[in-house]
């Protein structure tokens, strides 16, 4: 573990913030860090750029992190885990809620390398659609219809022709990912789909076994990004 300082905090909403560190971490989109908020807990978080995490307050530790003062020291283990694999062809990014975090990083990475990127971003309400101006080519969906397409992001995906995309990248709550998996399975495109999964972790380095999936793979090492064809949903 090493320590870095919080350099800047962007407060997107009451519950969601992006925390920037004072140094860039050698990393790839999709990788995560174990972030130790001293006095609270150490939690796994996907990176939203090479020097930031984007987090939603859901418990005591994430609440403290969303409210963290600039200048605070935090501990970092990582970056770790298997990242997304880039593509030369057209890319489709599908985000659900706070699952958008690693896709910010991936989006910037792909755009920088000249990839044609299309983003679908879904949330319950328009309030949870954070930082949308960071995406170049975006379509949004809200469950309550408060912005964009009225319905789930999964329904929006079903209207798309998937043939034109060389790679499809997804991150969001597990029910959303499972629904997407079923759709992609039906469309027979699983091998070109990558999904970033979330699981409770203790060690983050492949030892404790807390984040093992039913297929025996570890979210912290073989994941968090898995090729969908390797998942046995």
């Amino acid at each position: 573990m090493f320590s870095v300082k919080v350099e800047e905090v962007i407060r997107h909403t009451e519950n969601i913030a992006t925390i920037f560190f004072n140094c860039r971490l050698r990393s790839y989109p999709g990788q995560f860090i174990m972030l130790n908020i001293f006095g609270y807990e150490e939690i796994p978080l996907s990176m939203s750029s090479s020097n930031s995490v984007t987090v939603k307050a859901v418990g005591e530790t994430t609440r403290a992190l969303v409210n963290i003062p600039v200048g605070t020291l935090v501990g970092i283990k990582g970056p770790m885990g298997t990242p997304f694999t880039p593509t030369n062809g057209k890319a489709l990014l599908i985000a659900g809620g706070i699952g958008v975090a690693p896709l910010f990083y991936l989006h910037d990475y792909l755009v920088k390398s000249g990839t044609d990127v299309h983003v679908l971003f879904g949330a319950r309400t328009s309030e949870e659609l954070i930082w949308t101006d960071r995406f170049k080519n975006l379509e949004i969906a809200t469950d309550d219809g408060s912005a964009g397409y009225h319905g789930s992001v999964v329904d929006l995906v079903k209207e798309k022709d998937l043939e034109e995309f060389a790679k499809i990248y997804c991150c969001g709550p597990e029910p959303m990912l499972k629904a997407l998996y079923r759709h992609f399975d039906e469309m027979d495109v699983l091998p070109k789909v990558e999904m970033s999964l979330e699981k409770y972790m203790r060690c983050g380095i492949g030892l404790c076994g807390s984040c093992v999936l039913d297929n025996g793979l570890r979210v912290c090492v073989e994941g968090p990004v898995f090729n969908a064809a390797k998942l046995d949903w």
Binding site: G75, K77, L207, R218
Partner: protein, 295 residues
């Protein structure tokens, strides 16, 4: 060439997955059992136990320090998880408790177990582990009770953080233990120099990995001199040479834990290396047990 017999258990090779490493889910145990000689599940107690809050594991340049705090879903729930074991290798269920009768009562939950390991050595949990494993009288009593409750082999896992590991090993042997496992982690801690605070939420924990290998080899050596029952060596086994070293010191088998950090496929890799070694020397691995003691 790699086969060893351990208290009636036939192991396809002498490498056993150590307790607490990737042993909470049946999917990872099944995966490792494909290549390991045997697997030990994560220590389980009668009741569910939360464990400490993160951070609970640190990796540093020579190994790991952990204080997970014996997190467990409890015996009943864990038995349901283990019911789907593939049986690709013997399954050893590790038990923790604070009293002899409690230890004994745990065995009945696990009909799928091929053997039991008694956790007498976890250095970072209150009232269990090392707290009961540092008293030779209590260790003997625990082993007697467990042996009364089960006909399966029972191994006592020992801590190096006692006055004399041989004294505890002897007590386990007198109680009727079928074997001893040496060693569990060594007490240790780490402090972050920027935040100026201990890193682990429990402040201190147990050190494992390459750092503790010489300590473990010495414990195995000493136990081999004094005990009649088989010894399972543990502590920093990372390469195939470490397996040989522990066997020469007197171990019938070894446990591997922290080295899983380097590879999920380490049992496969080391197995292949050991096959190459035995082809070169023409000796069975079982012939090496305690060979360094012979004058």
């Amino acid at each position: 060439m790699l086969e060893v017999e351990l208290c009636g258990l036939k192991l396809k090779n002498p490498m056993i997955l150590a307790s607490g490493i990737l042993g909470s889910h049946i999917s990872s145990l099944n995966k490792i059992a494909e290549n390991a000689g045997a697997v030990v599940a994560k220590s389980v107690g009668v009741e569910a136990r939360e464990g400490y809050k993160n951070p609970v594991v640190i990796n540093y340049s020579h190994g790991m320090i952990n204080a997970v705090g014996l997190a467990s879903p409890g015996a009943r729930k864990f038995a349901e998880e283990l019911a789907n074991f593939s049986k690709a290798a013997p399954l050893i269920v590790s038990l923790y408790a604070s009293k002899p009768k409690e230890f004994a009562s745990l065995t009945s939950y696990f009909p799928m177990a091929d053997a039991f390991e008694l956790n007498l050595s976890c250095p970072h949990a209150r009232n269990v582990g090392l707290a009961v494993g540092s008293d030779p009288e209590l260790v003997k009593e625990i082993v007697i009770e467990v042996k009364r409750a089960t006909s399966k082999p029972v191994f006592a896992k020992l801590s190096p953080n006692v006055r004399d590991v041989v004294e505890i090993g002897k007590a386990a042997e007198e109680g009727g233990a079928d074997g001893v496992v040496a060693i569990n982690t060594v007490k240790g801690m780490s402090i972050d120099i920027f935040s100026k605070k201990p890193i682990l939420s429990n402040i201190s924990g147990g050190v494992s990995g390459e750092a503790i290998k010489p300590i473990a080899v010495k414990c195995v050596w000493d136990l081999y001199e004094e005990l009649e029952i088989p010894i399972i060596g543990a502590g920093g086994v990372t390469t195939w040479k470490d397996v040989i070293e522990f066997m020469l010191a007197g171990a019938t088998a070894v446990q591997i834990g922290s080295a899983l950090f380097y590879s999920y496929r380490i049992f496969y890799s080391l197995k292949e290396s050991l096959i190459a070694y035995t082809r070169w020397t023409g000796e069975k691995l079982s012939e090496l047990i305690g060979a360094a003691h012979r004058r």
